[in-house]
Symmetry: C2
Subunit: 670 residues, 2 copies
Amino acid sequence: MDEKRLQNIPLRNIHIHDQFWDKYIGLVESVILPFEWDLINDRVPGAEKSYCMQNFRVAGGLEKGTHQGTVFQDTDVAKWLEAAAYSLAKKPDQELEKTADAAIDLIIGAQEPDGYLNTYNTILGKGRFYDLFEGHELYTAGHMIEAAVAYAEATGKRKFVNSCAKLADYLCSVFGPEEGKIHGYPGHPEIELALYKLYKYTGKQDYLRLAQYFLDVRGQQPCYFLSESNYQNGTFIFKEFKDFGMDYCQADRPLAEQDKAEGHAVRAVYLYSGMADVAAETGDERMLRQCEMLWENIVRRKMYVTGSIGSAAYGERFTTDYDLPNNTNYSESCATIGLAMFSNRLFQITKDGKYMDVVELALYNTLLSGIALDGRHFFYVNPLECVPEVAEHNPTMRHVKTERQLWFGCACCPPNITRTLASMGNYMFHVGGNTAYLNLYLAGEIEAPLPEGTMRMTVEADYPATGRIRICLHPEKSRQDAEIALRLPAYSAGRYQLLVNGQRISVAKDDAGHEENRRGIDSGERAVYRKGYLYLNRRWQDGDLIELDLDVAFRFVYGNPKVRDDIGKVCIMRGPSVYCFEEADNGAYLAGCRIDTSAPICTEENPDLLGGTLCAVVSGSRIDYRSVGSDEPLYSAKRPVYQPCHLKAIPYACWNNRGKGEMQVWMREE
Amino acid sequence: MDEKRLQNIPLRNIHIHDQFWDKYIGLVESVILPFEWDLINDRVPGAEKSYCMQNFRVAGGLEKGTHQGTVFQDTDVAKWLEAAAYSLAKKPDQELEKTADAAIDLIIGAQEPDGYLNTYNTILGKGRFYDLFEGHELYTAGHMIEAAVAYAEATGKRKFVNSCAKLADYLCSVFGPEEGKIHGYPGHPEIELALYKLYKYTGKQDYLRLAQYFLDVRGQQPCYFLSESNYQNGTFIFKEFKDFGMDYCQADRPLAEQDKAEGHAVRAVYLYSGMADVAAETGDERMLRQCEMLWENIVRRKMYVTGSIGSAAYGERFTTDYDLPNNTNYSESCATIGLAMFSNRLFQITKDGKYMDVVELALYNTLLSGIALDGRHFFYVNPLECVPEVAEHNPTMRHVKTERQLWFGCACCPPNITRTLASMGNYMFHVGGNTAYLNLYLAGEIEAPLPEGTMRMTVEADYPATGRIRICLHPEKSRQDAEIALRLPAYSAGRYQLLVNGQRISVAKDDAGHEENRRGIDSGERAVYRKGYLYLNRRWQDGDLIELDLDVAFRFVYGNPKVRDDIGKVCIMRGPSVYCFEEADNGAYLAGCRIDTSAPICTEENPDLLGGTLCAVVSGSRIDYRSVGSDEPLYSAKRPVYQPCHLKAIPYACWNNRGKGEMQVWMREE
């Protein structure tokens, strides 16, 4: 473990003005937050009812009624508040803050005197913590705590965080190794990482200890969940839970024995995020190695090329190594967000760029696939291949929506996407010691608080449309000593150019690293390459210019041949962006198309398409469906007839913004 | 509609001695019937409990207890009895008949005084016919009736059929258009075709009328099922039924408006079989056209190359046209049997060989895939592609078993396979007027009762290992006038040879037909080709020899390009037999293999393999997995490396008889 975990910098210090990301981030304040507020208040015609705010009013005694929605319905409000907090952190907004304050008052009004906070149980009064396997009480508490910490950090107002600290204190009094306490743990992890956040915010060790306890006790045998009354009686909240093994929620064995990612994907990556937090904080090297092993298992065996995870809908789960079907997969938006959270933590702890490569993949592809360009429609499930006619008629794909929805009865994903978009700064940028890490190349301005003074950096980029990154530095002090670490994405390794003030910089490899950028004029100055980052250590003057050119040229990507579903196929990427083929550009029967990978991938700029999109055009061939009569038999000796064609691809992130139609990422190779 | 429906001939007149089929049919009496008897009596260690006979003892008051198993558990006994009846029809067996008589006594002992017969409702006493959508009472009654008719025909004993006639009389008194009667119909069709059988056996018009009523009222709007109390109260017997639309059981619209096969595949084909029976009997041309349309929709849009149907597990149902996934499909054994039943009826009614082509496909492939060569293990679900590691870990395929099972809690398939094997004669052979139809070329002897005398025929064949069929005729009378109709399978159209007594016969086409077999020595005698049959009309002498040589050479078969799942792939067939590739012969990662279709398919005789099997060996190439390191990334620019190889295929019918392993029917084409 590296000596110190890298830190976020305040979101108010990061100003994003990026052509690609502004299409989404720009909507957070103006569209998404108000829209989602209306949704959780059940004011959007045509959307599924959420009952979120109503539940709080009922629990707080302001309204008569019962609880409606899922057991974890409260979390939609928490995630909305967390997103609002990030937004307020970046830019004050009295109206939004007033709304948030009112929501917080409603929440606190629903809190019980001892700190317990959960509208489902408060309203229904069936008792607390009797079904940790399914009940989501600790999961809900976790989201409340995350929101409260974010709100306190954003606004300085401590009312909400104090209320959540009271909730956490109550949890500390109920759970733990001591006799008389519950020796259980959450069916759905989340509280662990939240308690870590609260511990970091308050400094109170109890919260870290409880997080650690939840990790230590998890999966101990005999499994706690099996002893719970609902499980014993077969009276499940979610009927399918009776079929789920304990691996579904990572409780089939102690965490120390879990070396493969198993079960429900969101639970897994939320759990692993908490494990990484606690391991780093307590210096638990063994648990950290385990996190790394789990991450490797995901990224080398169980992740889609779009950075999504969860190969099966039933159980919304990981399946087995290399099993990555493209049209029946779950690939939940929340799971991708969790994978980004987990990877981001491992980067902060290890400073290894491979983790940030996965963050980038997840954010540039599946995170954005989850939201429409209008900011009002969402995907929960993100297939890599969709034929609407089939997905709508074959119940094997009944979890797949062929168009983004306004909202979902179980709406974990939309506000999760929102809070992630609102906090992109926490993925883009970190500081540690005298080093400022630039992870993601969104254009904008950053004021990085470094020990010798604030380093203001202006980033010019239109990534990944181009790989041209220009960083202009404005140190607080003249000749300020600082190290700037620039991420060199794995796809561009060995193919980049680095200049400072117009002078080419040669890069020395570290012990494990590569040696690159040696050619050309050598300024005498050196950068060091270490685990995916280029470290530039010098005394910076105002106006110093770093020029980094990455190779984002379109490329063909193959799946590992052990991924049966991708055999014989190829996909197209540009930098971290996966491209896909849509019916809107290419007509139907994409399955009948083949790509000629010996021909170049041409670039086509479409300023009017999807808010300005760089498209890829490839050569290939396709079955001539005019030669296939409607009376043709299903099976015959007739070989299909192919015709040459051109095919056009758009970023996967933008698919399904032009109505319903076929989409395919992996295309057959000619 | 042709003037008269073709008739079965008594099973005792058909003696099968066929190298290929004896492996299965030979087991019916010696292994399967005794084994299944033990199963339904819960005497097989390791098998799931059936409770079948126990339920009858409890319902009859012979034993204390409650009902166990599904609502239609009785049908396993009925199907066992039906199979036993066919077996007894072919060959008397005192022991078996004694066992069957005892079972029948138990059944009759469980019948209520008014004729009602159903252990589930008799034991639980919740009332009758209150949940036709799910309750399976009429389905169960149908199977009882089928068994009783078969038993009476086999043994001449009328006790069981009288008891079932009483049941049918009771149903006639309860259901019907008259005021005061129930205007409902079965959620699971079957009673329709059973009532038709009982009508044919007894001559009682009421049964035909009730069958017709069930067809007439089906799907009338508002749908009857929606008015039932369980549906209204949401108290479903099968929890998933609440998600099923009325199309699931072909009740979303009147039958006259149903022109595409929809919903649960078994229900559909059982229903269509009853429709065909009633249409033919009542001369309802419109309903018959509808049957033909539904059949065409299945066979041209929704049938696997193996003759199986049901593309989705959830709802065990048809999905949409051309949607035929190979590894997530249901392809239930019972559905294939139902398709054979439906097709057989349409053939009997229309004399069009295309229906018999489908019967042959279904019986030679999926029927046999459902049963192991030991006669004791069964598949319910018949995928065309299976990777055990994936099927066992990806819950999308949780319906797929990777090895045949001893029995199933819901065990509709095993006894259904048994009754079909035991009654193969009803598919092989029909008579109509002075014509004897040879449909399937199993070796054996047939005594066909024709108007001018019995025609004994000895069929020599080892089909489809060879296409050489030799039929020696022994008419009862000298120079007996008779027409022999020989099926010319579609795959051999234009490629066959027909001789009588060594003289080549030229074949005249009929109005719609082909003109073939013109080359070579012409005996002057002609055959007529009409809709898939070669009609030989002459005066036959004892010892006359018909020689038919079909072209069963291995061939490559392509899917219609609208079947996305088969694009770029090819499969191998020999006659009606689909071949498949198994890990046992070819190693793992069949998905990484490609076939060179420009190279010939070689024949390999394996006398020791699976009881003697003709294998196909093809050339091709496969990914060299030794070049794929375990640390290789999931996605990269690295193109897979292929190596030339040979691949061996065995009949799909015999797959999974050598332990668990990968299997694949459709292979990528090089």
